[in-house]
């Protein structure tokens, strides 16, 4: 069943969003990008100022916001949408046992007590939590509670499952286990997962949507977005440096990155990128060398930058200069005497720079 939504919430969200049948979409973006707002509107917890949404052929809401003449606004309340929402916290009903928590939706849907408990057992087994059935929510660890919450949401047989950072509140043991469970249960199910972790997107999602300032800045299949990021946020997720500008015959003419504006980069063209069109150049921090002075010789890209931060990174040092990063060894860092505020050159071979259309 296809979920299709256009929603405008003034100052928070302005997005066109689609989930294909059986598809899991990961929504990523910085804090305050409107990710949770998107879920709240889809679940019916927040009325948008304008827009419309359909799940299959069922209209969830329709408000024209006064744009195209008057259409009577329609709005289906949350309990009639067939959309379940799983939040950061499990929010298991504290007055019910684990089993009755999971049986809540089937019971509400009209099953008898015995039937609903049978259904609940099935879903608990699905999330490896059948042994917790008799417990009270207060007796569960965070990871256990969240798995039970997944079972409770699935027991509602939602046509669309929304997950709002389900792993965020879990410890290092709980998160991987829940991720495994989700991988299993989300297969073939229409779902939206809001997350900060690129790993969630890799493991669970078919498609990535990057939200920034309430707008979708990038979307596509996971491999496409992480392999060829076009937004700064996606590049950060993919662990790549990203510069935007205009495609040239050799590479890219950088525009709008402070002191780097106007720098000409040479690089390898990836796919079709016509000169004169907007494009981006991406390169991994590991391919960047740091020089105190402009090096001579081989045709390489030299970017004059000012170091903003030094931080430990996977056994080495990550040198940050604004939005760019270079990974070097601690020995190299010590030899160069790097410290924040220092002006240096980031040098990267053309062969390491991928240029493609934005």
């Amino acid at each position: 069943m296809t979920f299709r939504m256009t929603a405008l919430v003034h100052g928070r969200l302005d997005a066109d969003f689609t989930v294909a049948p059986g598809e899991t979409v990961a929504v990523l973006g910085p804090n305050g990008a409107g990710k949770s707002t998107l879920l709240a509107v889809a679940a019916g917890l927040l009325k948008p100022d304008a827009g419309s949404a359909r799940l299959g052929d069922k209209v969830l809401f329709e408000r024209d916001g006064g744009k195209h003449g008057w259409v009577p606004p329609r709005w289906v309340p949350p309990h009639l949408r067939g959309v379940a929402l799983l939040a950061q916290e499990a929010l298991l009903f504290p007055h019910l046992s684990v089993l009755d928590n999971v049986a809540f939706a089937p019971r509400t849907a009209g099953q008898s007590r015995a039937e609903s408990r049978e259904t609940a057992r099935r879903w608990l087994a699905e999330v490896d939590a059948l042994d917790l059935a008799a417990r009270r929510p207060g007796q569960l660890s965070g990871g256990q509670a969240q798995r039970v919450a997944v079972a409770r949401a699935l027991a509602a047989e939602p046509e669309l499952l929304l997950l709002d950072e389900p792993m965020a509140a879990l410890d290092i043991h709980g998160a991987p286990q829940l991720r495994r469970v989700l991988k299993r249960v989300l297969a073939g199910r229409s779902a939206v997962i809001v997350t900060h972790e690129v790993l969630d997107a890799l493991m669970l999602a078919d498609r990535i949507v990057v939200l920034e300032g309430g707008r979708i800045v990038e979307e596509g299949p996971v491999r496409e977005v992480l392999g060829r990021p076009r937004s700064a946020f996606a590049a950060g997720l993919a662990g790549l440096n990203l510069l935007a500008g205009t495609v040239t015959a050799e590479g890219l003419l950088v525009s709008g990155f402070g002191g780097l504006s106007g720098t000409a980069l040479s690089g390898m063209f990836d796919g079709e990128a016509a000169a004169g069109e907007p494009g981006v150049a991406a390169f991994p921090p590991s391919a960047v060398s740091v020089f105190p002075e402009l090096p001579h010789g081989s045709p390489r890209n030299c970017l004059p930058v000012v170091i903003t931060e030094l931080e430990p990174h996977a056994g080495g040092i990550r040198v940050r200069a604004g939005e760019l990063a270079a990974d070097i060894t601690p020995a190299a860092s010590a030899e160069l005497g790097l410290e924040p505020g220092m002006a240096v050159f980031f040098v990267v071979k053309s062969a390491e720079v991928q240029v493609y259309g934005a």
């Binding site: 019916g44 917890l45 949350p78 009903f93 504290p94 809540f104 509400t108």
Partner: protein
């Protein structure tokens, strides 16, 4: 003035009444003196009354026909007024706690008014509403319903003064519980009525119970509004407090014995609402 007798379940970590460890308490030593005076001020009158009880005559005094009539009437009307408070107070608390609307503060102020209003004023107000010449009374009279100076009037007077106790208690519990569980329940397919029945009310049950107990206790002690609006007719409107007041003139021993009875009921009620909640209301 918050008539909440709910046991403080967020007791400070220092206080460990169940034993085990003594943290820093931060109570200045001199504070114990006025605290002790305060405690004595509450307890001494009860002791004085106990000292006055004519124990030899206690049983006959509290089992006289007039006493039993008054006690029975008090228990029946207080139970009825508690039901009235629940029927109207629960929706009122829900409306006040869950959805902001214009005039909400004003409505809350009016609902709480009986807490600070002298009960006799409440009685007069009720009289001019439901009395023979009252706002609604005239219409009710035409329909053959007379409320003033009947047992119904007793229940109304009690409900009038007791309703705020239930509303305040429950509104607090509802706000503490928040609406996150209700939201989850809605996305699981439960309509508003199902959510109320299966999530909201069970979650605030401790607050609801203590509110009901407080309402019952306030109803039991009602005097001023009852006397004004319902009068004092034995077996019909003369509740225990009225009987005590009446007996005080005629037979002081009987008044003291009945007072003790009322104290016993009050202690039982407070004990009930102070009981440690078995279940935590998740914040």
């Amino acid at each position: 003035m918050t008539p909440s007798l709910r046991a403080s379940r967020d007791a400070s970590p220092n206080a460990s009444p169940d034993g085990g460890g003594h943290g820093y308490s931060g109570v200045p030593r001199w504070l114990y003196l006025p605290a002790a005076v305060g405690a004595l001020f509450v307890m001494l009158p009860l002791v004085a009354m106990l000292a006055k009880v004519n124990w030899g005559q206690f049983i006959p005094l509290v089992t006289s026909a007039a006493s039993l009539d008054a006690l029975g009437l008090s228990l029946r009307t207080s139970a009825a007024s508690t039901v009235v408070c629940l029927v109207f107070g629960v929706p009122l608390a829900m409306v006040l706690a869950r959805r902001p609307f214009r005039g909400q503060r004003l409505l809350r102020a009016f609902v709480l008014l009986p807490l600070v209003l002298p009960p006799v004023v409440g009685g007069i107000a009720l009289l001019y509403t439901f009395g023979r010449q009252g706002l609604l009374g005239k219409t009710l009279e035409l329909a053959g319903i007379q409320i003033a100076f009947s047992t119904t009037a007793v229940v109304l007077a009690q409900a009038f003064v007791a309703l705020p106790f239930l509303v305040v208690s429950l509104e607090g519990a509802l706000r503490t519980a928040g609406n996150r569980y209700e939201t989850v329940a809605a996305t699981l397919g439960a309509g508003p009525t199902t959510v109320l029945r299966r999530v909201t009310l069970p979650l605030v049950m401790p607050g609801l119970a203590s509110g009901a107990v407080l309402s019952f206790a306030r109803s039991l002690g009602e005097f001023g509004a009852t006397l004004t609006f319902a009068g004092s007719l034995q077996g019909v409107t003369r509740t225990l407090p009225l009987e005590i007041y009446l007996q005080r003139e005629a037979d002081a021993d009987a008044a003291v014995a009945l007072s003790l009875l009322l104290v016993a009921v009050a202690v039982a009620v407070v004990g009930l609402s102070y009981r440690k909640p078995g279940r935590q209301v998740a914040a």
